[in-house]
């Protein structure tokens, strides 16, 4: 037998043993699968230009989209407020999914409740579920705020959140003055970034709508949906502190999704306080670090009389330059000398490594702002982001990307693909190969199918641990992204050299 008590084989080596390989061969006789030659031929065809055209002619079918649905974004953004419990009105399975999804990425608990609507609620509406649900959630989990969003079930039957919450309050589910902001977050509109925007706007509206604004000098900063929020928000706060800026980070999950192991389970930790959220109305300006996560929120802030500005995931030299200049402009503070020094260090590192970066070609996928920020950084290194894909990107985003490409000769052969999925990207990679792929863990299937090394950044990262604990924003973050890219390049050089079998190109110093 292949297994022994002394040397226990895990699944990968176990199933490669002759015993299992023979068993799988016997199983194949029962499977009626197509002959190997036909599979091989079809596989090659799926990587052809002919297939690519067929693939891009799809009108109804979506395969491996790099986007999730609205309520995920709503649950994420709500988690960034002090003692806030997400309450998602609709079917309960959805909430199990959001919690699992966020836990798998952050390796952290993620609490959220559902109103557990079933068939009878589909017929009669979910009012009673809301009444009971708010009461239970409030009593059991002692939140300071309950943020209500919706699954598509509640949206299709047209449940009215405002009326339901108001009725629940009247019935005593929660105290009269308890904060229950809400947002309708239909899964059939937009993506998780839309849900982020809707819920954040819902929370701000809840606190701001009945208050008079006294224009002050503070700055509101919004990070957007970000898998690296733990590291990024802390870096962002460090930068803002160096400025000496008076600021409020609206939704900060950096503590909530990074709680310590010391014997206590903290269901709630950190987050933007309710007081600070209320006072954020008076800020002079609101700065979004991801335009595509905050359109409605910024419109709302602007309507309150605030100045607004937005960036595209401030990664790399130019991206961080823009961030610092935006902070300087909106706060009237000088850019700190220390940050200028950090800039120089990142540029220094880029100069040291430029020989290995120049001319490398990339495919990048993810949320629109991430793809923009990453592509911009790649261009700074002398790389060419040939295929840039955002399933939740649209024509306006494509135009932004084309403008970015047009700003440098390195962007010449590059193209942005909004609304396309990772099966489209597979065709792109198979027909027009690139050196490196940048994206989430879902990119590992493309890495396998097309032989392009995957650099894991963005969300979700399921199969590598703790990346999100380190920033990718700011000059420091840029260094970290640079090292990640370089490591992949150097590893490939070494692996390719080993493949030659001689001591050729297996260089000790590079």
């Amino acid at each position: 037998m292949p297994q022994s008590a002394e040397k226990i084989l895990d699944h990968a080596p176990l199933f490669r043993t002759p015993e299992y390989q023979e068993m799988l061969a016997r199983k194949r006789q029962m499977e009626c699968m197509p002959p190997a030659a036909e599979v091989e031929k079809t596989d090659a065809w799926t990587k052809s230009w002919e297939y690519r055209e067929k693939n891009f002619a799809r009108e109804a079918l979506t395969i491996n989209p790099a986007k999730a649905c609205q309520p995920l974004g709503a649950v994420f953004v709500a988690a960034g407020f002090e003692r806030t419990l997400s309450f998602v009105h609709g079917s309960q399975g959805c909430v199990a999914y959001y919690r699992s999804h966020l836990s798998r990425h952050f390796k952290e608990p993620c609490a959220a409740v559902s109103s557990s609507m079933t068939e009878d609620a589909a017929v009669f509406g979910g009012l009673q579920n809301m009444i009971d649900g708010l009461s239970n959630a409030y009593t059991l989990y002692s939140p300071k705020m309950i943020a209500v969003s919706t699954t598509c079930m509640a949206e299709v039957i047209g449940d009215d959140l405002q009326a339901f919450i108001s009725t629940s309050r009247d019935k005593g589910s929660v105290p009269a003055d308890f904060d229950v902001p809400y947002a309708h977050t239909p899964a059939f509109v937009g993506s998780h970034t839309t849900g982020y925007d809707n819920m954040l706007k819902g929370i701000l509206e809840h606190f701001w709508k009945k208050r008079e604004r006294t224009p002050g000098t503070g700055l509101n900063v919004i990070g957007g949906f970000d898998g690296y929020a733990v590291g990024n928000n802390r870096e962002l706060k460090r930068i803002l502190d160096l400025f000496g800026a008076e600021y409020t980070l609206l939704s900060d999950v950096s503590d909530q999704f990074d709680t310590p192991s010391d014997g206590e389970y903290r269901m709630y930790d950190g987050g933007t306080t309710i007081e600070a959220t209320k006072d954020a109305l008076h800020a002079s300006a609101t700065l979004s670090l991801q335009e595509w996560c905050t359109h409605k929120t910024l419109d709302y802030a602007k309507a309150q009389g605030q100045q607004v500005a937005s960036l595209h995931y401030p990664l790399g030299v130019g991206g961080t330059d823009d961030l610092l200049q935006a902070i300087a402009e909106l706060t009237g503070k000088e850019i700190p000398a220390e940050l200028e020094k950090e800039r120089g260090r990142l540029v220094d590192a880029l100069a040291d490594s430029q020989a290995y970066l120049h001319g490398k070609t990339y495919a990048i996928f993810g949320d629109p702002d991430f793809v923009y920020g990453m592509a911009r950084f790649v261009l700074e290194t002398g790389g060419e982001p040939r295929h840039c894909l955002a399933t939740n990107g649209n024509a306006t985003w494509e135009a932004q990307m084309q403008a970015l490409f047009a700003s440098t000769p390195f962007g010449a052969g590059c193209k942005a693909w909004g609304g396309k999925d990772l099966w489209h990207l597979r065709s792109l990679l198979a027909t027009e190969p690139v050196d490196l792929l940048v994206g989430s863990s879902y990119g590992k299937y493309l890495e396998r199918d097309c032989g392009v090394p995957l650099i894991r950044l963005s969300f979700p990262i399921f199969d590598r641990h703790h990346h999100h604990r380190f920033p990718v924003w700011g000059y420091q973050g840029g260094l970290r992204v640079l090292v990640t890219v370089l490591d992949k390049i150097f590893d490939k050089l070494d692996n390719d050299a080993v493949g030659i079998g001689e001591d050729i190109s297996f260089d000790l110093t590079r």
Partner: protein, 498 residues
Amino acid sequence: MPLDNNAGDGEFNKRLIAEVLEAYPDKSRKRRQKHLDVSRGVPEPEEGVSPADDAALSECNVKSNIKSIPGVMTIRGCAYAGSKGVVWGPIKDMVHISHGPVGCGHYSWSQRRNYYTGTTGVDTFVTMQVTSDFQERDIVFGGDKKLEKLIDEIGGLFPLAKGITIQSECPIGLIGDDIEAVARKKHKETGKTIVPVRCEGFRGVSQSLGHHIANDTVRDWVFDKKDHDGFETTPYDVNVIGDYNIGGDAWASRILLEEIGLRVVGNWSGDATLAELEHAPKAKLNLIHCYRSMNYICRHMEEKYNIPWMEYNFFGPSQIATSLRAIAARFDATIQENAERAIEKYKPFVDAVLARFKPRLEGKRVMLYVGGLRPRHVVNAYVDLGMEIAGTGYEFAHNDDYQRTGHYVKGGTLIYDDVTGYELEKFIEGIRPDLVGSGIKEKYSTQKMGVPFRQMHSWDYSGPYHGYDGFAIFARDMDLAINNPVWGLFKAPWKKSA
């Protein structure tokens, strides 16, 4: 007669339940208390009388398969998760459409670890997220036309796919789409198997109804649709039902069944092909591993094709031996001899595994909260390692599951059905077990409390845990979870001990 079948402290557990229930509003307390109980031990037989093989150790009388209470943080999923995620999703040579908005397919994408062989995207499709990505216009105008078109597109892009299933998400049933009509039409055009599944997430109270609906669609849309007269049978043909090949479980089981001389016609549904579903009615016996999710189709096959079924359990050496003997007893003397020979052959291996791990695990107490069969089926694997079960419960069990649980757990065991996040945290705090086995949503909160944890849905990315090969991995995993030095680092040295 004293009730010797008592494990934990039943009185303590009763007090714990009472304390936990205190936290609820009245209405919810009344509903929740029916789901929480302490198992009652049944008397051990008189001295000299050996207990019957199927004798129960205790009674577990909790209410189950009832709607979850809103707002309490149930751990359950939905019917879609039960159908697409569990039953249909692993069928490897069919394309499974998550029909509706993008989220359901996204969150369930590649998360069940249903291992399979094949070339993904060419002849197999399990780790792909295929969806109709509903937009507002599809809700307003209906999605049937879009569905027709995307079935055509699947045909064009994946010519080797043997069939398609349509896994309905919530909106489908609410907007009145006729996916059955689309399936019939497209089947007529293409000749391929196309299965419409009404597993909208709001149906039923948990994943469980999705299993049932999925089973029914195999009956209605797969069985007897093609001529399989050419399929050559043997007297030793069996189906393995309800093994989803998590981390390769079904392979570690199949290798044993083959070793005793049986031939597995269909493995449902881990690593399965459509042909394995179609050929299943040709087998002589159905072996059910996950009773909860697939007993329905076995009952149907019994009625329609006269195929008897039996439950078995390949977790841990004592249950493996019992099950091998019970399975062999359904066949001739050759198979029975083979089974005895296999049990004998693996004995030194089992002894070596126990010698290595039992001393490190003996007396450790475990709490479980899982899905279909594992809250009872894994119990003896722990007992084989000298461990004790302090509490167990199911996400989506029915009454017959709790009846069966009594055969595994002793009296005094804490039993919780559809446990809420609040209850589970308080139970863990109260009992302070040495190990908790549950899911990803429970993992990190438990570990923060300093309690070792293993995911018992996904095997925490390990496995297989079935069969003899799997038992070694199981034992090793429980040891590494419990005996890792990290648990000793929680308290900073300058903090006074409590």
